[in-house]
Symmetry: C2
């Protein structure tokens, strides 16, 4: 089998152990003679998977009892629409903190539904850092939306200490499960699975129960959070196989030692690549300000377009996959999610140093 | 491995060959050293799968060039909402033909968005047949919605010959790919994959291109068909693994001989079970009128609740899975989708006869 270092931004690397286990039981789930994909979503075998996935998330993220965990379809992009549909109120605007392209998109969708406001934006500095957050007064905003990790620009909130509002919503698509964070600060957290949680096709929503009660009624049934809460995410057919894989990923994470161990590993991994950048004397330039650097998506540029192309070409030949920056910003990006092994980051550091040396720098 | 006859209504049986192939390449897709789940949805390997799945559907269903094929998330239930959101017009109502619970739900969602009308309903006869369709005048209805196969009640449209309207929409979730039908009659066809097409988590939409152009603007981006058309179903991250499996199922269907061969097999399979009912002298009673019988979902009752329970219990012990009727109607239901082998239907017929004999009938 070809050896690959998978630095894709999402869909991304999955733990080998998880794929191995999925493979072993693909035709025969728990001696039932059927694939988990062939089981009814209303049968006891799938139901157990569904509940286990929720319980594991609850345990790993220390989610308080006042929260419900939902498994939805449509990606984080559907949440961009469902959030304002459910939570916008007449005569009160939601506020959005803009830290990258995904927060911009979230705000744009809110503005399609009603009035919504930008609270602060890092755009003028090309989203190279998390901007300073002004005091948020609860009367001003129905809810306040943030993006915890900016997949495209490679910045991340170092902490949420200075963020205070009774109804905070966070898009954690690209850093959920990568480090400890205070769930109880948020009314709602959401994340497409395809970075740290599993395959594409399922979106995790963690929501304080009282928040759903206060949501707008008269929505299309499937676009109302209340529907999914009441039906334990079984209102209609859930993406059962994606949820099964999510469960396997969570078991793997628990086995490994949970959030603390994942965070330790992620810091060690990211440091390797940031070191290669910082020690290059300007051959590589990191996009993010140091205090806003993402542990998940490490973005950098080379001195010119031609060199970048050469770098990406040689990297590809050496088995590195997914290192091109997002098509909207160019440059390079190494996404070192939970399932990317230390070894891959060591290899990338080595390759970066060697590439620089070869260029006579 | 336990031997099971899988008659689940959806998620349902998948072809063994498909699961086998998925298993073989689960960790290493086409010598890339990665699972297809780990590939970027913007990379050439996944892109090829995405386009192949579309091309195979086009070929198998003889979809004319004027149509686009979309792969969406959210299940058929999200389509219930997206259809009126996209296509309702002021001063003109859509019409719904009610042939079962799913068409009722579709109408209910339309009524949440605006005014919508029931054209005719089979409810008074407990949805045991497809009602006679009145002439449809195009000025009366923006669009006309039908459910081609009624998964819960076990009825199916024998033909669409008497159905004429410039904008017909069909929910074909439970019989797409089971037999030939005239695509060109419809402005839009949709189907959740989890019965005949693949695993849960992807919904196929087949839409005449001009129809999307005329859809309402100002919708949330992700809920607009135009978005998905313009972006070839890659506006956001698609459920890549579900689409990959869909592709494998379509390859299997083509290999087998396409729609004609599938229809031949489905007729042969359904006949076995309907024969067991018809030849039971009233021990088993079919729910559907003969001219409205479904080839996919065969619904029947026994003489009383107790006998039904006994039947389901013994069936389960003999390795038959999924024979209980939908929780809303009770009784028994055998779903004999494409991937259910002839052998399973032969075994069920045999079991039905033996069960009857044992009861001294
Ligand atoms: C932070 C963030 N939010 C939202 C999205 C959109 O997710 P999806 O493609 O599942 O809609 C992404 C995708 O990369 C993301 O990184
Ligand atoms: C005919 C029909 N329409 C719609 C649905 C709902 O599909 P989903 O669960 O994917 O939303 C079903 C599910 O069984 C169905 O049989
Ligand atoms: Mg997704
Ligand atoms: Mg970003
Ligand atoms: Mg579905
Ligand atoms: Mg029905």
């Amino acid at each position: 089998m070809k050896h690959v270092y998978n630095f894709n931004a999402g869909p991304a690397a999955l733990p080998r152990e998880v794929l191995q286990k999925a493979k072993e039981e693909l035709l025969d789930f728990e001696d039932t003679g059927m694939s988990i994909m062939e089981h009814s979503h209303r049968g006891k075998h799938y139901e157990a998977v569904h509940e286990q996935a929720k319980n594991l998330l609850k345990e790993l993220l220390s989610i308080p009892d006042e929260y419900e965990i939902l498994f939805l379809q449509g990606g984080a992009s559907l949440q961009f629409a469902m959030i304002p549909m459910n939570f916008m109120k007449q005569n009160q605007k939601p506020g959005y903190i803009l830290t990258g392209s995904w927060s911009e998109k979230a705000l744009k969708e809110a503005k399609k539904i009603g009035e919504a406001e930008e609270i602060v934006s890092g755009k003028s500095s090309n989203y190279s850092s998390i901007p300073e957050i002004p005091s948020l007064f609860s009367d001003d905003y129905t809810y306040v939306h943030v993006t915890s990790n900016n997949t495209i620009f490679g910045t991340q909130w170092a902490s949420f200490d200075h963020l205070e509002h009774p109804f905070l919503i966070a898009d954690m698509s690209s850093d959920i499960l990568s480090k400890r964070f205070p769930v109880e600060k948020f009314g709602m957290i959401y994340a497409g699975a395809q970075k740290n949680l599993g395959p594409a096709g399922v979106t995790v929503v963690i929501m304080r129960k009282e928040v759903a009660d206060k949501a707008n009624k008269e929505l299309p049934t499937i676009l109302s959070y209340e529907t999914h809460m009441k039906n334990r995410s079984l209102y209609n057919t859930p993406p059962t196989f994606s949820i099964y894989l999510l469960k396997l990923v969570l078991e793997w994470a628990k086995e490994l030692g949970g959030l603390e161990e994942l965070e330790r590993r992620n810091k060690e991994k990211a440091k390797l690549i940031y070191d290669a950048i910082d020690e290059s004397g300007g051959f590589y330039t990191g996009h993010a300000e140091k205090d806003s650097r993402s542990l998940m998506n490490i973005t950098f540029t080379l001195q010119n377009e031609e060199l970048t192309k050469q770098f990406l070409k040689e990297a590809q030949e050496q088995g590195f996959s997914g290192l091109a920056g997002h098509r909207s910003v160019g440059g390079c990006r190494a996404s070192a999610y939970n399932a990317v092994p230390l070894e891959a980051c060591q290899a990338l550091k080595k390759f970066m140093i060697e590439f620089q040396e070869k260029q006579g720098n």
